[in-house]
Symmetry: C2
């Protein structure tokens, strides 16, 4: 495993993936496990991670992503989705899971459930989706850093037609909406982006110490 700074310096938004090099099952499962373990507000986990390997569907998804080749060429594509309808039902589901995992009576969690529901009641349905989406972006960040230390390449992408993705992946029927995607695999040796210098503002410009 790489040192984290070295890892974050070596990674970049891969433009050309090695189409012959696939993630091993172990590698893929490790990435999915870090996604599963990602933190989220209240611990609610308002997300589902859709892993697309199927090459025919990937070709169609590429067309719905301004033709960006990473969508079909990377080993796997991960689509970060959130529920279309975020309501108390999902809070109850989570609270039930807390009670089970920690082996405590569900009644003892009433106050916590009420607090979360109170928070939700202050948001309209669009704001709830925005809020869940931000949590999904935490998972995306966790994926980026984790893959980097594992020497796996990730290209996070916002440039895709979310509605077409939802159709192509059958997300509508599952009550999900796609929010951001990440192509995951290994850089091609001749990816021209590999040799480009990373552009980041200097520390003085982005860090304020108080």
């Amino acid at each position: 495993m790489k040192n984290i700074i070295e890892a974050m310096n070596s990674r970049y938004a891969t433009k050309k993936f090695d189409t012959a090099k696939k993630l091993s099952n172990t590698e893929l499962n490790e990435l999915l496990e870090v996604l599963r373990l990602s933190p989220s507000s209240f611990g609610l986990q308002l997300w589902k991670f859709v892993v697309v390997a199927n090459p025919e569907i990937r070709k169609e998804l590429q067309k719905a992503s301004y033709g960006q080749p990473q969508v079909s060429e990377a080993s796997h594509l991960i689509v970060f989705t959130v529920p279309k309808n975020i309501d108390d039902h999902l809070v109850d589901e989570y609270i039930k899971s807390v009670a089970e995992v920690r082996n405590i009576p569900i009644e003892n969690l009433g106050e916590y459930a009420t607090m979360i529901k109170g928070f939700l009641s202050g948001l309209n349905s669009e704001q709830r989706i925005e809020w869940a989406t931000k949590q999904a972006y935490i998972a995306l960040g966790v994926l980026v850093a984790s893959a980097a230390v594992m020497s796996i390449d990730v290209a996070p992408m916002e440039g895709f037609d979310s509605k077409k993705f939802d159709e192509l992946l059958g997300l509508n029927k599952m009550g999900l909406v796609s929010k951001v995607i990440a192509a995951v695999g290994f850089r091609a040796k001749d990816d021209p982006a590999t040799s480009e210098k990373k552009v980041r503002f200097p520390k003085e410009k982005v860090i304020i110490e108080i």
Copy 2:
């Protein structure tokens, strides 16, 4: 450095920090460096990370965070902020930086600049802030995973009064708005949350393979 799965399993939203144990300069600088290296849409880096060590200000911030003790007790508090006004000026600043770092004439980047400005023109000022905030959440995810492999504890928090934070930290004058915070340091040995089992839905519930 810990294995990433082990690291993500050991981490948790720390409730009680060891007030005597501070991050070393090296540790703090490494965390700030991973934040600086985090990816963002178009590479724009529409963020500033405000690191608060000052104990008096931390006490005030705690009052503006429902009294949550981590805000004042952790070694450091990191406030993720984005600019209030996101306009073409910030795109130009970034493009200038790309030209400098990669040593290419700025004219060659005209098309890229136009594309980013075209994207921005489709968003109103509130949507631009929402969009920048999502990028800041990527950095938060990168921080969580990076700190975890370094055995540093992080409590990400949304429960704070953003307006009061902006006032207390002088962010208004800097044209910034606070969006999410993270208390960073080391867990207290007697943090009751340490012994609580992590609650995550099983893989079958959050991963969909296509």
